[in-house]
């Protein structure tokens, strides 16, 4: 699936988008896999309360299932308007 990062999450991880091969059942499982990769991922995901997640462009929770998901995005709370 495609994993996207926005705002400071993008800056901390160092890229806007990447292809990730994973069997993670939930968003939380995917986060665990990413955190185990490298320090920059571990740092970006250290405080999940500071992050939001969208699966296939719909806001959801970290316990959301990933079956069939094509795109997961991680970002800080939004600041529009």
């Amino acid at each position: 699936m495609d994993v996207l990062y926005f705002a400071w999450v993008r800056e901390r991880i160092g890229l806007p988008k990447e292809r990730v091969e994973t069997d993670a059942a939930t968003v939380a499982d995917l986060v665990s896999e990413l955190r185990a990769r490298e320090d920059r991922y571990d740092a970006a995901f250290a405080d999940l309360s500071a992050l939001r997640v969208a699966v296939d462009q719909e806001l959801t929770d970290f316990d959301a299932p990933l079956a069939g998901a094509r795109e997961v995005a991680f970002f800080p709370p939004m600041t529009g308007g």
């Binding site: 996207l4 926005f6 705002a7 400071w8 969208a54 462009q57 719909e58 806001l59 995005a73 970002f75 800080p76 709370p77 939004m78 600041t79 529009g80 308007g81």
Partner: protein, 145 residues
Amino acid sequence: MRIVVQEAPFDYGAECDGFATGRTDVGAVVTFAGLVRTDADLDRMEIEHYPGMTESALTAIAEEAARRWSLQDVLVIHRVGPMRPGERIMMIATAAPHRRDAFEAAEYLMDYLKSRAPFWKKEHGPQGESWVEAKATDEDALSRW
């Protein structure tokens, strides 16, 4: 309903003037514009967004407003990219037979647009750059709906 996400500035006067005109069933139009405000030393602001999700999130918010209130038209324009203090960031407009629907729907749209549409503001100044943090009051504002 019209939802626009663009880098270029928009003509606020022309948009207000052209909104919900040419019909006789509209009794109330509410318009709102958000501007880049200088709180401290701010040279410019940059807005990042999530192309695709931004448009679908704004459309979903506008559709929900249309379900809750008696609306005849809704307009949302939101800019992305670099902006300077004093520039307009975004605008909304609502049209309804009566003012209460137009006012309430406009407030609802703004409350949801601030914390449920994927935009992120970054401020650039002499001290460097920083991401604008979401306020707890913005999140609390959703609970009244």
